[in-house]
Amino acid sequence: MTVHLAADVLVVGAGPAGAIAAAELARHGLRAVLAGQDDGRADHDLVLSGAALRGLASVGALEEAGARVVDAVELRLGPGDGHVLPEAVSAVCGRRRLLDGLRRTAVTAGATWLPGTVSDPVREEGVWHASTGGTTVSARHLVLATGAPPTGTSHATGLLCARPYSGVDLTTSIVLALPAPRTIDPAERPTCVWAVPGGTAGTCTIGASRLGPADPDELLQTALTVLAGGDPRFAAAVPTGPAVTGALNSGFSPERSVQDGRLLVGDAAGLVNPFTGEGLSYAVQSAVLAARAIAGHPGDAAAAGRAYTRRLSATFVGYFETATHAARRYHLAWRVLVATAGDERPVSAKVRRAVLTPEGFSGLTAADLMPLPAADVALLGPFLLACDEVAVRAVRAEWPFIARLLIAGEQAPHQRLRPAVPFFAALLAGGNPPDATMATLAAAIELATLGALAFLGPMPSRAAPGRRVDWAVASTVLAGDFLLAQASRLVAASAPEVSWSFADWLGELAALRAARIDPAGRSRAGEVFAALLEFPSRIGAQLGGASPETVGALRSFGGHSGHAFLHAEEVLALRGERTRLDVTLPAMLAGRLSAIPDDLPGITGGLLAGDPGARSEAMDLAATGCEDAHRAALAALRNVTHPVSARILRSFVATLCAPCAPPSAAGPAGTAPADRPDPSAPVS
């Protein structure tokens, strides 16, 4: 006898994405049916990124996943030594345990779980019908979580392999390796290799992925060769189970993720990092987005589809959105990543994080969030969202990886430290609510700041001579020119009256940096940073119609904030913590970014590392400099009478200076600096 089940949503595909979608739908009180056949794949361990962990926690599935936290992600790009990726939160778990746990979570939340093959769903008069075993299901909404399609757009299709091994001494970290290209031929495709520790000592799972045609045996052999090369931990690895192979499809686009009323989630939507093959965090995030889109429009499948597309566009950017240039842009990104592997310049570090990790990166900053009253957030939030939208639109088609620098994995974008915040507050200082079109100018300022960082940071060293492109230098110039040109274009289109000042600002930055790196130069290190933040404050105040006194006060505020920013970077770097610019102390000194040598001539990274006295002197200097700049910035704000404007700016500069606040018991500063490991130190 056939049983009929009337549901709100049918989720086809019972992998991680499907189970999470069903769980989240049930949590919203919708009748969800989770149907699909178990893929019967052999078990292996996989990586749970910070984004995946947050997603699992949000649907209450973290306990069930049995995640084991690992200390570090070791990144090996090209032939050099590995580096620990600072603050990359990660965990590992067994795939089988995760799947069972997620299905249990879905059922506990109230979803119905129907294991077995599902017939192709058919829609009649707005209702989907499908059957599995002896059950027929009808539902208004359909979510497809059926994994990567075996065929797809050729530029984004490849192979993914994983296999368990023993005899490996890998316990506390994940290894991610991207070997250097063997030839100058752009037709060569990269292989990404990873290893995660297993549940018992001495075991691990080794995996590899490659876009384009690949043979599973060859791929796993390459993986082992890459890992064992120069890393004794993998020398005695022997396989302990069968290899698992799957299709890799990273051909995501928000528009293709809704097909004739079907909402595609996870691998089915092509949401896979083409470099690492990582798809779990995207599976979790997209499943939650799809469920929430449906929950927002339970009676209207078309509206749910539109909402889902919108949410996807705002959440995932940076991969192959246009097939035309995908292969070449992918090749470019690979060459740049490998060429800048040992490079600790701000831009390189940011690009690595943005391209390789699902967390992405946020503008000028790390994770610091500005505390703001809800009313201020309500005012600032929409403006910054509009700003992000414009910025991403300006670069996403032509240089998708840069788009990832702008919003990937973003949490609370409205509370981050970013140049658009002082710009907004300065606009407000004149007393009028900022015009929404000013968000375009804010986007231009943020793109320009990112572009300026490419030119104003220390230069990468030249590649060894030979017949090749010097990718490190080339990408610096290309990214800088591209971002500054896009920014100028946005300014001319949205606020032509600012075009002159904007170009003049770029010229000023070039001159300040040129003076700073000149051997005979007497320019202070903080001046470049002061100019970076002075401009948004000044232009905002002028456009917002503030009085000349207020404009002057805001200019001064911006300049002092820039100095404070640099000193806070120094404090973080001296402590061996991740800085906002992702730059290490030696890189700051070598690149003449730091102000420390201005007052302690002859200081070097080695001296600071080896001499506690010099270190403490430098720390005092940086902390005092930060406090002085903070005080001066607050003093300037006395002439800003608009209460909300002043409040936002006070919060901005206080958050900027937070690393220099006196150490608290709970804070990382409580640990003696000398005892802290240097996160930039080579690991192998």
Binding site: I184, D185, W399, V473, V477, S488, A503, G507, A510
Partner: protein
Amino acid sequence: MTTTAPPGSFTAGVHDRLSRLADDLPELVRGPVRTLIAGPGKFARPRLLAACAAFGTPDPGRLVRLGAVVELAHLASLLHDDVIDEARTRRGAPAAHTAVGTEQAMLAGLACFALVGTEAADLGEGVAGAVSTAVATLAYGELLDVERAFDTAFPLPAYLEVVRCKTAELFRLCCLLGAAEGRCGPGETDALVRFGAALGVTFQILDDCLDLSPSGSGKPIGTDHALGLFGAPTLYALRADRGGELARLLLSPSFGVRDLPEAHALIKDRGGLEAAARLAADWHGQALDALRGLPAGDPRDRLAALTTSLLDVPS
């Protein structure tokens, strides 16, 4: 009439304006820009702009400033191109990055782009908008050109996209600014802009042909091939390179100027030069078509003469 000034005085005026602008740059970024300005430039872009403006009645002072803006945009991109390509020389002198170092050369290029921005803004919102759009396209062209290095399977349409963005866009801008300054009507402006874009593509295809054999222009040959930037003749020949002989030669790690005669022979043998010449003729034809859409007379004749001289001796 304001357009009767002899061309010599116009380029002298542009040169003078450029020198003044460079003199106002901050000291540390000034040197490389000055050296470039002092070098032997043909002012192809300012002359094109002026020739287009001659269809109307431009203000001579503004015309000189506009000419300086487009030349400066060209110089700024040369500074950055030379950093990327590691060129040894530029216009007969050591390239800026070899003289002052990579970072200072990069900053000089940035300062130069900034100067383009302030000058364009000074000349009006329309100028600022047109210039910033063109510079954005130029930057994208720069990216396209670098990422295709050593690509022996680079498709012709993609090559044309690079050429349109990297070379033709600036020619197009000159014609657009010239038409605007001459207050040309929409029909004339449209024809001039189409003309500029087609002229720029023709110019680049012919320039690519010159990378293979000495032209007497004094430009070093084989540079683009050594960098893996294969032009139209080579890309056509690669499509007919069934045995892969040409591709192997071009991708050889030791490929250099001494291999050029062999590359030249292989490319010629595979019909590359002939096909590229046809492509150039096609684009030249498009430029001339656009030209015919303009009113007959002195300005058109002079623009045609300028076209001939530009295509004869690419800079």
